[in-house]
Amino acid sequence: MIKLSYKIDQDSSSLEISGIPDISNGDSEDTIGILSSWTLKIIGSPILEGEKEHLDNLMQVVLQYSRSYISGIRKQFISNKNIVTITPIANNHKLLLNSSKKGVKPLEIILDDSELSDLTRCLDLLRFHPKFNIRWDIKQERPFSRKYIIKNLSNSTKNYNLFYSLILFLFTSILLIFIPTDNRYELRETTNHSQVLSD
């Protein structure tokens, strides 16, 4: 059996995938159907490697995070077994990877927007490239509900116009109630007194 190895390069990220075709699934000779190993190099960070489950976890969080980010939502995502976590920090993104081996400290990688998009593009290529026919345990991109967007939108982008206008309306109304009115004032009909000027 020929062991295949493919490399996906995207500026700061480089992903190398090794595996063999899954002939029982009808894969051609040059298609990886069964993944045996992977290595991910992000410039300025240590080399990451692991089993398929780890790559699944990385894809889960990074792709979900990117999906949210494109809708203006910045929130933390944690993979199924808490192996990978991605959290927004200021303008950057913190990727935290917990090793399944005992005694190994978690690895922390800080990505800026360009590095996040490089990594996302790398993982997108892996998902959709015809040279890979691997079943990934990841959620597809789905539209969010309006409720979810409003709930998760960062404070800076929330539209408070309605709230402010309501507050302004109530304040003005209360102010007008407390302004004293002159009840003694009576409306009188104006009468025209015609004076005859007599010489």
């Binding site: 020929i2 062991k3 295949l4 190895s5 493919y6 490399k7 996906i8 390069d9 995207q10 500026d11 090794s18 040059d30 792709l63 990117s66 999906r67 980010y69 494109i70 809708s71 203006g72 303008n91 950057n92 800026d112 927007d113 360009s114 590095e115 998009s117 490089d118 996302t120 593009r121 993982l123 997108d124 290529l125 998902r127 959709f128 490239h129 015809p130 040279k131 890979f132 026919n133 691997i134 079943r135 990934w136 597809q140 991109e141 789905r142 539209p143 969010f144 509900s145 309006r146 967007i149 800076s156």
Partner: protein, 198 residues
């Protein structure tokens, strides 16, 4: 025996992706409606593309022809009419985009952002030289602001706030959207962000 190949630095084969995904993606948009801000978002993304590339309107139509998009992209007027669905435009037409038009525009934006990715990446990168990056941002924002002034209704509060903003947060958001819209996965992501669950 180990066979090594350099697979891809660009998306060359994306139209024939893995068979596990094609059926699932279409089902993701069942019971969904077009988001209220979809036409606004699309128009601003095209405006950013126009900022990044001179004569982008020609490139957009050529790209649309290359990727085989519908007759909506056959002439500048038809394309302009679609963009006039943005309520913040001077020439707002009180119409809305159809599902097919959104799909075509998503495909076009995705293809263009892939073409312009090196430029987008440069602007988003924090690893570049600060003075050089500041110069690039100054050029980018001044050009984008002049396009906004020219085409949008400047009396709208939203436009006025964008133009007066100094921290460029909104422009950065647009660039991030473009950077995450490249390729097939990116197009799916962008499309999902333009819809809402009903």
């Amino acid at each position: 025996m180990k066979k090594t190949n350099l697979v891809a630095t660009q998306n060359k084969y994306l139209n024939k992706g893995s068979k596990y995904h094609d059926t699932v993606i279409d089902k993701s948009f069942v019971n969904c409606v077009i988001a209220n801000d979809a036409s606004r978002k699309i128009d601003f993304l095209i405006l950013v593309i126009e900022t990044l590339q001179i004569n982008a309107s020609d490139s957009l139509l050529l790209k649309a022809k290359d990727i085989g998009l519908s007759h909506d992209f056959s002439s500048r007027v038809q394309f302009w009419k679609m963009r006039c669905t943005n309520p913040l435009r001077n020439t707002y037409t009180f119409t809305s985009l159809s599902f097919e038009q959104i799909d075509s525009l998503v495909e076009l934006i995705s293809a263009m952002s892939e073409k312009l990715y090196p430029l987008i990446r440069q602007l988003l990168s924090s690893k570049e030289s600060k003075t050089l990056n500041d110069e690039r941002w100054l050029l980018f924002t001044s050009r984008l602001k002049s396009l906004i002034r020219e085409r949008m209704n400047n009396q709208r509060n939203y436009i006025a706030s964008i133009l007066s903003e100094d921290n460029n947060e909104f422009f950065r958001e647009l660039l991030v959207i473009l950077s995450l819209s490249c390729g097939k996965g990116g197009a799916n992501r962008l499309k999902a962000s333009l819809y809402q669950k009903s």
